[in-house]
């Protein structure tokens, strides 16, 4: 089979950073896969948070997600790799409108990795899974020779159930929908940057890593009634990546009001100092929702009644103008594009 080539001859870090280059890599990897769905369920083509397997004679369908997890440093303010792995997997299921029920877990270890650290990561993993009410039903371990990977990599599959009629999808944004964000943005990546060696940034910032289960439970009825048109957790690529993905797949325009985006002062300070874009920064315990105009206030109040969603805010509106574009009304009143992040976030020189 002929393969369409990548624009680069080698894999670069930016190919994994949730931006345009990652899209290109995924296209490259998946271009020659023949079967991409089961029983016309949601499959690979949609490139959504997960896939569905509809079963004949059942009102529910199985929702499946897959996720690889690495983080540097392994232990960061507010969490570690174990918590991150469960939250990432469970949140992806919830973003499809599914109730998480089970997970598989693969752990690949580097020879020489500390058993103490492994224990801490596994304890966090198991604790978080229990908190989410998710069973760990299968797994695998591999150990690689020293130097062939960096300490530890985890990979998970998430399995959930949802009613067939629920359509919470990236391509389902509708005119006049309100965009809700469930909490302050950029905390996770800023906390990681702050805790990396060499920068000597001290702050009390913690990662926002967390389970969105509470929000799912609060919104069950609205999810059942398809009043929530789309949900997405803005992990790699941040809200800029997530919103652009929506605008592209739904062929709508999204207008964001910059003043209403919840963002911590520490995050603004770190991104201003290093020349990073907070809108492109990863969150690990936040969700974006696109909700019909009539239901927006009710949904917002329900989210705000939860602990993890108490700072939720409406940040924008969906329109048919400027399709496939995300526009920002800036804090001083101008307008500009919010573009898809390009790749790895590189600090600017001055």
């Amino acid at each position: 089979m002929s393969m369409k080539k990548l624009s680069s001859s080698v894999v670069r870090l930016a190919h994994g950073a949730g931006g345009v280059m990652q899209e290109e890599l995924i296209q490259f990897i998946t271009q020659n896969i023949t079967f991409k769905n089961v029983n016309k369920g949601i499959g690979l083509e949609e490139l959504d948070d997960g896939a569905t397997i509809p079963l004949e004679d059942f009102e529910q369908e199985i929702v499946v997600t897959a996720d690889g997890h690495t983080v540097h440093p392994l232990f960061f303010p507010g969490g570690n790799l174990g918590i991150l792995s469960v939250c990432g997997t469970v949140n992806d299921l919830i973003m499809m409108g599914a109730r998480p029920i089970a997970m598989t877990s693969i752990i690949i270890l580097e020879e020489g990795f500390s058993i103490d650290e492994l224990e801490k990561i596994i304890n966090s993993f198991n604790f978080t899974a229990r908190e989410a009410g998710v069973a760990i039903i299968a797994g695998d371990t591999k150990v690689m020779p020293r130097g062939s990977l960096d300490k530890i990599i985890m990979a998970t599959t998430g399995i959930g159930l949802k009613e067939k009629h629920i359509t919470i999808l990236d391509n389902n944004l509708q005119k006049n929908d309100k965009i809700i964000v469930t909490g302050s943005i950029g905390d996770h990546q800023s906390a990681l940057i702050g805790s990396r060696e060499g920068l000597n940034i001290t702050s009390d910032l913690k990662s926002d890593v967390g389970l969105l289960l509470e929000i799912y439970n609060a919104l069950k009825e609205n999810i059942q009634n398809n009043q929530i048109h789309a949900m997405k957790d803005p992990t790699r690529g941040g809200i800029a990546g997530a919103l652009n993905d929506w605008a592209n797949k739904s062929e709508v325009g999204i207008l964001i009001d910059e003043d209403s985006i919840p963002i911590k002062k520490q995050v603004v300070a770190i991104s201003d100092m290093l020349g990073l874009d907070p809108y492109a920064m990863a969150c690990e315990g936040r969700a974006l929702l696109s909700v019909s105009e009539q239901m927006a206030e009710e949904v917002l109040e329900k989210i705000k009644s939860t602990e993890i969603g108490k700072e939720a805010t409406i940040i924008g509106t969906v329109s048919l103008e400027n399709p496939k574009r995300v526009l920002v009304k800036t804090s001083v009143g101008g307008t500009r594009f919010m573009d898809m992040p390009l790749g790895e976030a590189i600090p600017r020189i001055c």
Partner: protein
């Protein structure tokens, strides 16, 4: 904790007041062309959508103010050649590593296995040199007057012998002079970079506004800083005054930073220097003085370079950089040339006019 500037300099009410005053003046004016020469100013203008707030008859042009964009391909080729050596670590500022040179960028060299590291300043590079005594650590030094003193300071403080510098520094006043004297752009005023003035003071800018009778305002980097600078230029134009005014008084002292100036003069000498897309500018760059030759990568290593290519065929970066063309007027913009597949240097850097337009421009 308050972020400096958030109370006044990013305040919407204050923005509205300034805009109201700008609009009032502009009613009595024809087309006004104002140029800034700093990537960070363009960043502020684009990030806050300032062009969309200004009256239609004000045109804000972007001059050659992105240090990454004006760095000639030959200097990057040098870093790439040195980076190919097994015993060498190349260190540089973040957005330098993606800039394409004649053949490959430093990012591509890194992906192929070379040791290329992003640092926040020369001090980090020195530390890497101390930690790796068996390797040569080369700092690829780019930037304007703002980054020069840091490198001068390290060189004066006897860095380890395995540390050296590729000196690709450029100087702003020389470029301003070239723009005004040669480009026939009919510019009505300049917004000059506040951080450069913080180092060199007002005098080099005053010489320029006096000689060419053109309004010039040294400005800070918050949105209301830039809008105030525009207002100050418009007022000069109406009053027919041509001087250098300081909007960024909270940081810039008239005499600049004497200590930093001393360091620059001790370690570096002004030389004629090639700017990517513009050509050789008299006194437009710096070289390391001969008494510090041991830290000058040019003199320390025998580097064989292929013939370099600054501007690929079809690319209009040389016109964009001097404000003769808007990025969207280039036939490659957004079609063949994108940040993912940049053809010219202005699309590569986050401070490059083309990439900023690609990201933020609202047609």
């Amino acid at each position: 904790m308050d972020i400096p500037g958030t109370k006044l300099l990013r305040n919407k009410d204050f923005t509205n007041q300034i805009i109201k005053n700008i609009k009032k003046i502009c009613q009595n004016l024809n087309r006004v062309k104002i140029m800034h020469v700093c990537g960070t100013h363009e960043h502020t203008i684009s990030k806050y959508g300032l062009r969309s707030l200004l009256p239609k008859n004000i045109e804000i042009l972007s001059g050659p103010g992105c240090p990454v964009c004006v760095c000639p391909a030959a200097d990057i080729d040098k870093a790439v050649e040195l980076g190919k050596r097994k015993d060498t670590i190349i260190t540089t500022f973040g957005d330098m590593i993606r800039v394409p040179a004649t053949n490959i960028s430093l990012a591509e060299l890194k992906a192929r296995g070379a040791d290329v590291r992003i640092v926040y300043g020369p001090h980090d590079a020195i530390k890497i040199a101390q930690d790796n005594p068996n390797k040569e650590v080369v700092f690829f030094a780019i930037g304007f007057e703002t980054t020069v003193p840091l490198i001068g300071y390290e060189i004066l403080n006897t860095p380890p012998s395995n540390f050296s510098v590729i000196c690709a520094h450029k100087l702003i006043p020389a470029a301003l002079e070239l723009l005004i004297s040669q480009s026939k752009l009919n510019i009505d005023g300049f917004i000059s970079p506040g951080h450069v003035a913080t180092i060199i003071g007002l005098q080099p800018f005053c010489l320029f506004s006096d000689a060419y009778r053109i309004p010039n305002v040294i400005a800070g980097f918050e949105p209301n800083d830039v809008l105030l600078a525009i207002l100050m230029i418009l007022r000069q134009k109406i009053e027919k005054k041509y001087e250098t005014l300081n909007e960024y008084t909270r940081v810039v002292k008239p005499e600049g930073n004497k200590k930093a100036q001393e360091i620059i003069n001790q370690v570096f000498k002004q030389v004629s220097s090639p700017w990517r897309g513009i050509g050789r500018i008299m006194d437009g760059g710096l070289a390391i003085k001969s008494e510090f030759a041991q830290y000058d990568a040019d003199q320390k290593f025998d580097i064989q370079l292929p013939k370099s290519q600054d501007i690929p065929p079809g690319c209009s970066c040389h016109l964009v950089m001097v404000g003769k063309l808007y990025p969207y007027e280039c036939k490659l913009f957004r079609k063949d040339c994108t940040p993912l597949n940049p053809i010219g240097p202005c699309m590569v850097s986050m401070e490059g006019t083309c990439q900023i337009y690609y990201k933020y421009y609202n047609p």
